[in-house]
Symmetry: C2
Subunit: 349 residues, 2 copies
C-alpha cells in the first residue's frame, strides 16, 4: 500500500504530490495516521538544498501529530487510537553515553532525522510528516495529551522542545528574570514556557509591535534592543537569555544584559556570529552556549507540562496545496507563529 505525500524534487521547483511505498511494520514499530504537521524553517532549508544537496525527493515535516493505526508485536507503550507525536528524530544508537542519558539529540553515532536521513536499520531514506502515514520505532513516539488543541500541538515537537530543553537545562525557575530574544516560531514558545515556569519574562526585540504581541503571549516586559537607554537599564540583570535569532548577528549587546555567571543560549543561529568580545565574557564570568532540540524523555515531560498548563503554539492552518505559499511567507517572517498543515487536505487531489 502507498502513502500520499508532498515532496521537493529538486532545489528550484515548488513542492508537489508524491507517492511513497509504506514501510514494513517491525516488532517495535508504531504506524501512525498523520493528522497535522507543523512547518519548520528546517523544512525549507532542506527542500531547497541550503544545507547541501538532499536525497530528493524530500518529504519534509518533523512536527507530526496523529493517531496510532497499528502496532508491532512487541510494542508496549502504545495502542491503536492513541494520540501521538513524532519530532525531529526517529532513531539513535541507544548505546552511547548521551543516548543512555536520554539526550539522543547528541547521539555520538548521529541520530536518524525524521526526513532526508539514511535509515540505518531499515534501509532507504526517511520521509517526514507532509504525508498521511508514518512508521516509527515506539521509543521515538510521544504521547500527546488529549486535552490540548491537537492541531496547535504539532509545533511543540520541534519549536516547543527546542526552547523547553535549554530553559530546563539551565534551571530556569520561578522568579528568574528571563529574556527571550526574537519573536518567531521558537521565540513565542520560549515566552509561553518561561512564563509558565514562573519566570519574569522580558521579550527582547527590535520591533515595538512584536513587543506588544509578546505581551499577549505572556511576556511581562519588553526591551527594544535598538534603544541604548533600555539596554543600559537592563545591564547585568538577566538570569538567562534564550536567543532565538536564526541568522548572523551581534551577540555583545545581549551578553551585556546577563548577570554574573549566567548564560545566553543560542537555539537559532547555526552560522558564524559577529565577533564576540572576550572581555564581555571575562569581566563577569559569563557563558555563551548553544542547545539542539531536546531528548525523547524531556520531550515527553514538555508535552505532559503542556497538558497540565494548557500550552500550545499559536498557529495558522493551511492545506497542503498551499505549502509553497507558506514557504514564501515564512521567508518573509510573515506567520504568527507556525503554519500547520491539515493532512486531510492530501485527499483533495
Amino acid at each position: 500500500m502507498n502513502t500520499k505525500a508532498y515532496a521537493a524534487f529538486n532545489d528550484a521547483d515548488p513542492l508537489g504530490p508524491h507517492t511513497i511505498k509504506r514501510r514494513h511494520i517491525h516488532a517495535n514499530d508504531v504506524a501512525i495516521d498523520i493528522e497535522y504537521c507543523g512547518v519548520c524553517h528546517s523544512d525549507i532549508h532542506t527542500a531547497k538544498g541550503d544545507w547541501g544537496r538532499p536525497n530528493y525527493p524530500v518529504v519534509p515535516g518533523h512536527e507530526i501529530i496523529g493517531r496510532v493505526k497499528e502496532v508491532g508485536a512487541d510494542v508496549t507503550k502504545f495502542k491503536v487510537g492513541d494520540l501521538v507525536g513524532v519530532g525531529c528524530m526517529v532513531e539513535s544508537c541507544k548505546e552511547c553515553d548521551p543516548c543512555n542519558h536520554g539526550i539522543e539529540q547528541y547521539c555520538e553515532n548521529g541520530f536518524t532525522g525524521t526526513y532526508n536521513s539514511k535509515n540505518s536499520k531499515h534501509g532507504g531514506i526517511t520521509y517526514g510528516g507532509y504525508s498521511d502515514y508514518i512508521v516509527v520505532e515506539e521509543d521515538f513516539v510521544l504521547n500527546v495529551p488529549e486535552n490540548i488543541d491537537v492541531k496547535a500541538a504539532a509545533p511543540l515537537l520541534c519549536a516547543g522542545i527546542t526552547t523547553w530543553s535549554p530553559l530546563r537545562h539551565w534551571n530556569v525557575k520561578a522568579g528568574d528574570k528571563v529574556g527571550v530574544i526574537g519573536l518567531g516560531g521558537l521565540g513565542h514558545m520560549g515566552v509561553k514556557f518561561a512564563k509558565a515556569m514562573g519566570a519574569h519574562v522580558v521579550m527582547i526585540t527590535t520591533s515595538a509591535s512584536k513587543g506588544e504581541d509578546a505581551k499577549q503571549l505572556g511576556a511581562d516586559e519588553v526591551l527594544i534592543s535598538t534603544d541604548s537607554d533600555q539596554l543600559k537599564a537592563h545591564k547585568n540583570s538577566f538570569d538567562f537569555l534564550l536567543n532565538t535569532i536564526p541568522v548572523k548577528h551581534d551577540v555583545n549587546p545581549y551578553l551585556n544584559l546577563l548577570k554574573l555567571d549566567k548564560t545566553m543560549c543560542l537555539v537559532g543561529a547555526i552560522e558564524p556570529l559577529e565577533a564576540v568580545d572576550g572581555g564581555n565574557l571575562i569581566m563577569k564570568r559569563k557563558n555563551l552556549a548553544g542547545s539542539l532540540i531536546g531528548g525523547i524523555k524531556e520531550t515527553q515531560e514538555m508535552l505532559d507540562f503542556c497538558g497540565e498548563h494548557n500550552i500550545v503554539s499559536d498557529i495558522e492552518m493551511i492545506d497542503i496545496q498551499n505549502i509553497n505559499t507558506a514557504y514564501e511567507r515564512m521567508m518573509k517572517s510573515d506567520v504568527k507563529y507556525r503554519f500547520v498543515i491539515d493532512i486531510k487536505s492530501l485527499n483533495n487531489a
Copy 2:
C-alpha cells in the same frame, strides 16, 4: 617617610625612579616590606596607556611578595615578620553579593586595583609593587607558605590565580582531559595546576618547541593546533579548555575539541574574537566562557595548595633597573615564563 619606587611618567618614555610618600597605617592595615614583584602584561598596557590614559605617574606591579613590617591596631590575621602576598586587588565594597560570596573580583561596585586605581577609602591613587613598601587592608593580604621558593611565588598572585580560579570553578578533577591553549605566563601555570589536580593535560600550541617545554612543565601530551589531523584526532574529547591566548583569534577549532556540555574558558583575550560559529555551540551544547583573576578566599586556597604541592612559577629574576628591557622582551614573548623584580635592587641607586 618615603617609599622608593619605579614609575611610568607618560606613555612614551621608559620607567624610572620615583619617590612616594608612605600612606598612614589604619587600624585594619598591614604594612609590607616588598621583597619581590612579578611583571605582568597588564603592567605594560597600563604604563603605556593602552587601556586609556592612566593616572601618571603609575607605579605598576600586582604580584607582590614581602614580609609584614607593621600592623594596625585591629589586625588579627597577620603579625610582624609574616611572609605575605598581595595580588590585583586591595579593596572592594564588601557589601554586594559577589563580595559576600568571596568573589571580590566581580564586586558590583568595582574593586580597587593594586595600582592606578582611585582609593575610595583613603583618597589618592594606588601604587603597586615596583616599590619597597606597600600598605594594604588585611582582608586583601594573603599568607604565603614559607616552604616554597619565595621569589618564584610572586606570579602566583596574578598569573597563578587567573588560571587556578577557572580550573576550580569548572570543577577540573583527576582523570579529566584538560587542554591549556597557549604557553606563556598564564599557560605555564595552567599546565602545572591542572597536572597537580590529577588531570590528563594537553598543551595546545602552534609551536613544537613550546610543546616540548610544556612537557617539561608536566603536560602529558601536545596538540599542535595548526595540524588538522591532530585537531581531528582530538575532536569532541576535552573536558575543559583553558584558553590563555591574549589576542584576537579564531576560537572555532578549539570549540571543536570540547566534549558535549563542556566549557572553554577565556582568561587572556579581552578584545573581540573572530566570528564564533553558532552551530559549533549548538550541536553539542558547548559553552564559551570567561573568567577574571580570582577572589581572596580562593587565592589563599591556591597558595596553600602550592605549599602542599611545591608549585611555583618558572621565573627570570631581574633588577628594577632592567625593567624597560624586560618590557621589550615580554612584548616579543621572550621570557620563560615570568620576570620577577628583586626589590633589593631599588637600593642600587
